[in-house]
Symmetry: C2
Amino acid sequence: MPHAQPTSKPPIAQPALFEDERAGAIYRTAAAMIRRRGFAQTSMAEIADAVELTKPGLYYYVKGKQELLFSIMRYAMDLLDAEVLAKAQPVADPEARLRTIVGQHARLLMRDEHGALGILIDEVEGLTGAQKEEIIARKRRYFELVRDTIGALRRQRGLVGIDLTAAAFSVLGMIMWLSRWYAPDGPVAGDEIAKDITEIALAGVLADRPPLRSVPAE
Amino acid sequence: MPHAQPTSKPPIAQPALFEDERAGAIYRTAAAMIRRRGFAQTSMAEIADAVELTKPGLYYYVKGKQELLFSIMRYAMDLLDAEVLAKAQPVADPEARLRTIVGQHARLLMRDEHGALGILIDEVEGLTGAQKEEIIARKRRYFELVRDTIGALRRQRGLVGIDLTAAAFSVLGMIMWLSRWYAPDGPVAGDEIAKDITEIALAGVLADRPPLRSVPAE
């Protein structure tokens, strides 16, 4: 396995909701701070300091702390939609579709240096009811794509007997865990890791149940 | 797949460090509060209230908030050692050992109603340097058991080409994700989920790389 780093990283697409670069910089800096310290422990004053604005200057860009959290989560869901859902949904073959989901999602997480995608997981309780509903509905749509793809793949191969919800969360857990352990300066290149995780997820969801029979040698 | 709940849950073993039941109750209540709200947002006064003690009464049992966090993490590591490591280490066959690891760890997480094992993941930054070192060293010991077991299994089957660190974190991510989605009152029994995840993890780490060849039908 090559241990060299990829020579360049694809840039993170700027989502449409960042109308100007100052707003984008605020969201990214805030995401990194919230990811590191938690939403409750990060004040608007500290975010203003970090982006070199006065507090009133910061409020020109964002209406408040909760609104800022919601903007970051929308940004993360926009990235997931653009980089994973939009690329996977048109793929007809379920194996190829699952490969696209796992590979794209893993690569997206590995270049999420500001941690916006991590906030999507950990900070949903900081939202208002309506905001939470929107984010949860978008997450559910993605979950259902993963589960339905695994279901189609297993039906195609004539496999039965594994709970599809457990299989879908297993694949998602495998991918999401990347944000806890992947180090961009580690010994294995991100692209190699994405390929490995794709093979592990594919082989995993094709598991037989009851337990794999040991076929006696003839 | 049966959708009935198991009729009884095995009780969580009381670790030796809970000398009396009052201390145990404090740790469990505090674990649940910290898990729900985060370490920084949970005060000793609130914990005292929740366990019906005065604040000085609480300090009779625990020296301080950081000491309490460390006690909860030690308790979680003791559970992991007793329920997973101690049961897996004596198993010579790597497939059987990996089945023991995944099945035991998944079952332990699913009955961790107070969330002590979740704190192990999320709150390590709240510890002092020496405390952090102890917890990290114990976690690393467990990680190495998982990675070495996968390595032994793949060598036994003559498989090459997947990074063992990526494979080990994939299996751990799959298991740890359970604490985010498993609901004790959900439609599938915990034991069935543990069995499914064991099969998915086993099949996953036996993945071939380069991509699984599609064998043409004869």
